[in-house]
């Protein structure tokens, strides 16, 4: 068993009287891609938001690289090395593409490193380089997704969390996004991926969890889940 990057223990989150997460536990080993699949409203986004510090955890623990980060404010979670590509991309529409990327590197002081990472990102997404001076709000959906991923990478995270990166993209872009996710992982970044596109996610992931109405109902190596009857029926549309 390799080292553990992120561990979530018996996590409970409430929105008012709604019990959104009912005791979730999961482990993300270092260097792997772990995916959390499930239908709309299952609690996937809530799980990531809880780790990132955007929603309050009522009970349970979030442990990153051995350190308890439960209910730490988002900016401190980011500084520890966790980046989130939020649901709906959340590009800053009034900032240029370049400024959006710099926002990702907000806490970094190493100018040379930032330059290096920008070059790496332009290799990953050549189209962003052509659009550097454009306002973020003028990009197409696919370009915004690339920018959102790049912006998160600019903080050089050790754990990258992605919330539905394939949502709303043209099919050709969807496979491009999954390829990029694998590429980023091969360069050494641990990834926690949330997807409704279960097939795409399980194909690139090492390990998977299935979430239903706030509870994990199934887990296993991604290959096994792909062949699991329940997963096939409920999430892959294979009867």
């Amino acid at each position: 068993m390799s080292e553990i990057a992120l561990e979530i223990k018996d996590l409970h989150v409430y929105y008012g009287s709604i019990h959104a997460l009912k005791g979730i536990s999961l482990v993300v080993p270092k260097g792997q891609i772990v995916t959390l699949i499930g239908a709309n409203g299952a609690g996937k986004t809530t799980t990531l938001s809880a780790v990132a510090g955007l929603v309050r955890v009522q009970k349970g623990k979030v442990i990153f690289e051995g350190q308890d980060i439960t209910n730490k404010p988002p900016h401190l979670v980011n500084r520890l090395g966790i980046a989130l590509v939020p649901e709906g991309r959340r590009i800053f529409p009034n900032l240029t593409v370049y400024e959006n990327l710099l926002m990702g590197a907000y806490n970094r002081k190493d100018k040379d490193g930032i330059k290096e990472d920008l070059e790496w990102i332009f290799q990953l997404f050549p189209r962003l380089k052509e659009r550097l001076k454009q306002l973020g709000g003028t990009l197409s959906g696919g370009e915004q997704q690339m920018l959102a991923i790049s912006r998160a990478l600019m903080s050089r995270p050790r754990l990258l969390m992605m919330d539905e990166p394939s949502l709303g993209l043209a099919p050709i872009l969807v496979s491009e996004v999954f390829e990029v996710i694998q590429k980023i992982n091969r360069e050494g970044t641990t990834i926690l991926l949330i997807e409704q596109n279960a097939l795409g996610a399980l194909k690139v992931a090492h390990y998977g969890y299935v979430l239903e109405t706030g509870t994990i109902v199934l887990e296993g190596p991604a290959q096994e889940l792909l062949n699991n009857e329940l997963v096939k029926k409920a999430y892959l549309g294979i009867a």
Partner: protein, 299 residues
């Protein structure tokens, strides 16, 4: 021509002062969707800081103004921390009512500390000859003070635009105006940036207030009310939330007031009413203001 020039410079000066104060309203609104009704009173406190550091602690004018501007910045930061920060997640109306409360608090605090009897700001200057000097531009005699005020005002705008558009914290301010949670995900301590925004706006308001007091030297605890209100109207006129809008709205409002009063002296007594007519017209015809974007409700 002479008459026009005199009024032109007066208009730029008055408008610039409105603009300096209006920027603070607009920046805070852009970030928190809050009309900070205490803004005019922060300006008033700034003027008192300048008055006391010059008259009581006998600092020279430049030094006392610097102290006052920094003091007002600290006060703005403190007001956000104590009064508005605890209400970040509360309904917007709570913060608005709190702003009115802070306004009353500052006014009454000033009565207690500084006294209700008006003071003359001219006491700040030991050598009053500077106030008498004039410069002649094409036959028009313009007070030197007017020029100084205009120069300082535009210097401050340059600094402001540099901070907002060329620095890292300015970038964070613009990011926060678009999306607070996502900005915090970038590792930005949002509360500090908001505090900095209050400090910056308050510093500009204090600078505006000090220059206002050189022209209208009656210093009293309620002196922030009228310029505060006018600056608010200027911010709405230009498009609240937009910094360049606040600058444009302020200068236009000052120009309109001065020129209407100059060319239609019979309506001089209604000068303050012009501002409100502009406000009502803008709200009826183009509520987003001259440079404002169409209102996108935040969800």
């Amino acid at each position: 021509m002479t008459f026009f020039l005199q009024n032109f410079f007066n208009g730029i000066m008055l408008g610039g002062l409105y603009a300096l104060i209006a920027v603070g309203y607009s920046m805070v609104y852009g970030i928190l969707r809050l009309i900070n009704f205490a803004h005019g009173d922060v300006m008033m406190m700034g003027v008192y800081f300048a008055y006391y550091s010059a008259v009581v602690f006998s600092l020279n004018p430049i030094l006392s103004f610097t102290v006052a501007v920094l003091g007002a910045a600290a006060l703005g930061f403190l007001i956000d921390r104590v009064a508005y920060k605890p209400l970040r997640k509360a309904p917007r109306i709570s913060a608005l009512i709190t702003a009115i409360g802070v306004s009353f608090f500052l006014e009454n605090l000033a009565v207690v500390i500084f006294g209700a009897i008006p003071k003359s700001f001219l006491d700040v200057f030991k050598d009053k000859s500077i106030l008498e000097k004039t410069i002649t531009v094409a036959d028009a005699r313009i007070p030197l003070l007017t020029f100084l005020v205009i120069i300082v005002t535009f210097a401050m705008f340059s600094v402001l635009f540099f901070v907002v558009y060329k620095t890292k914290i300015g970038m964070a301010m613009r990011a926060i105006a678009a999306d607070i949670p996502t900005t915090s995900l970038m590792g930005v301590n949002v509360d500090n940036v908001i505090g900095f925004t209050f400090a910056l706006g308050s510093a500009l308001a204090a600078a505006g207030g000090i220059m206002w007091a050189m022209r209208f030297p009656n210093v009293h605890p309620y002196m922030g009310f009228v310029p505060g209100l006018k600056a608010f109207i200027a911010a709405v006129f230009g498009g609240i939330g937009s910094i360049s809008g606040a600058v444009l709205g302020g200068i236009l409002l000052g120009m309109i007031e001065i020129f209407l009063a100059a060319y239609f002296p019979s309506v001089m007594g209604y000068r303050d009413a012009f501002a409100f007519i502009i406000l009502i017209t803008v709200l009826l015809v183009k509520p987003s203001g001259l440079l404002g974007k169409k209102a996108i409700e935040k969800v």
